[in-house]
Amino acid sequence: MTSRRYIKRVWRVPKDRGALEYFATLVVKALVKHGWPARWKPCGDPEADGWLDGFVIYEQGKDTGDLPPDFQNATEIAVRIVARTYRVDVTQHYNWVGLNRPYVVTTSGHFKEEK
């Protein structure tokens, strides 16, 4: 079930639902590809709280708490790799990840900064 074909079939990455969901799906996809039972859900209301647009990564079937240390390590590496690949400016605090700037996802699947 962790085959490449499974990853490609099930983990479609949506390009039309905003940069946050796109980024979160990319990270979670990379984690699932390496066997980690990762899920994500949006966190915080950027307009109400004045926070960044962010999401939380949690273990499947568990509450959104602290991750196990090895899972947390894998999450940090995955976020770093995806951010470097797509040149996205992100902030990570434990299992919370936020985009520092407003982005738009282009049709070719790249992050473009919104001016």
């Binding site: 066997g35 980690w36 894998a74 590496i77 770093r80």
Partner: protein
Amino acid sequence: MTNIHRKAVFLSAAGGRIDFVHDESGELLASVAIPPGRIDAAPYLDIEIEGATAEIIDVAVVNPRSAYGAVEYGEGSFDTAANPEFQPTPASALEADMRHMMRKLQGTEKRLQARMAALDTLERIPDNPEPLIEAPAPSPEPAPVPSPAPAAE
């Protein structure tokens, strides 16, 4: 007389003369005597009479030797010192092949090592030691909407 060199000499035992003959009428305009012996030609070359051709009579004109010359290296100078009957043995051809192959192998090994070192510096996501056997991952894409059932009102 134009083809006589400036440094030429006139040689004669009994002396001679230079006749200046008119080109059109053939009239002898002037005759300049040359004393016997070895006489420089330069002062005689200065004499010019318009419309007349100079004829040198009873005198040998000796032009100076050229300042340039080629020195030959002599017979056998360009022969090679190598043995002309030499033929490479098959053993030496084999050795050359072997050396070539060894060099190629070494280059390949070095390249592979460099690639491996570059791969080691890459950051990778560690694999989960206990991956899920079942991964019921929900697709973010909405499931295809089934055809609407007939509305029961």
